[in-house]
Symmetry: C2
Subunit: 103 residues, 2 copies
Amino acid sequence: MEQINEIADNLKLLGDKTRLTMLALLKERALCVCDIVELLDISQPNASQHLRKLKSAGLVNETRKGQWIYYSLTIEDKPYVQAVLGYIPSYKQKIAQLKNDCD
Amino acid sequence: MEQINEIADNLKLLGDKTRLTMLALLKERALCVCDIVELLDISQPNASQHLRKLKSAGLVNETRKGQWIYYSLTIEDKPYVQAVLGYIPSYKQKIAQLKNDCD
DNA sequence: TAAATATATATCAATATGCTTATATAATCA
DNA sequence: TGATTATATAAGCATATTGATATATATTTA
């Protein structure tokens, strides 16, 4: 089974508080980098670096809208990631507090 | 939510091929260290070190039987770990090939 | 076109991780 | 009791990871 390597690699990405929270946020809706920076209270380069890893693994994708780049989950083909995210408390309320000048 | 830290920490442990395979093996049945060493083809200290991490996180526990120490899963209270392991192909056949002098 | 905003990338230091080798401990057996 | 087997621990090295700082790129706006 070669598949277990891919699963382990993806779980390693989930095994970081910052990235796991990012994915939990994106479960609610697509967010731009500045949203994520605000919500997680981390530096912008730090956010970009984590997002790049998630993108390389195919867990998220990006869509540019003007000067903003929105990230979304792409985990339809990764049921174990869906399952994990399903067990994380919702960030709906947190996201609702966004100042969200981005739109 | 403080819980997400614990989830991330546990997923980090799952995010290693050796440990993830160990857990998948233990899903089938309790195994002693020498079984795991044989099945994974790793060194004994390496196996012990990974098992210690899993034990520290409460993902496995140990039971001595004579000179052997058997490890078993203790993930009843961690549904997201159960979910992940549920998506990993079974190692039943592999385990059946054990020479298993241990008993 | 210049300034401002949003994001990415490069580099680096600190820390963490995984594995090996050597050794210690514990149980069994002759 | 001494040898053997099973397992744990310690120490060290090589590599990976994280986050910070500095800088580059891309888009929009004045």
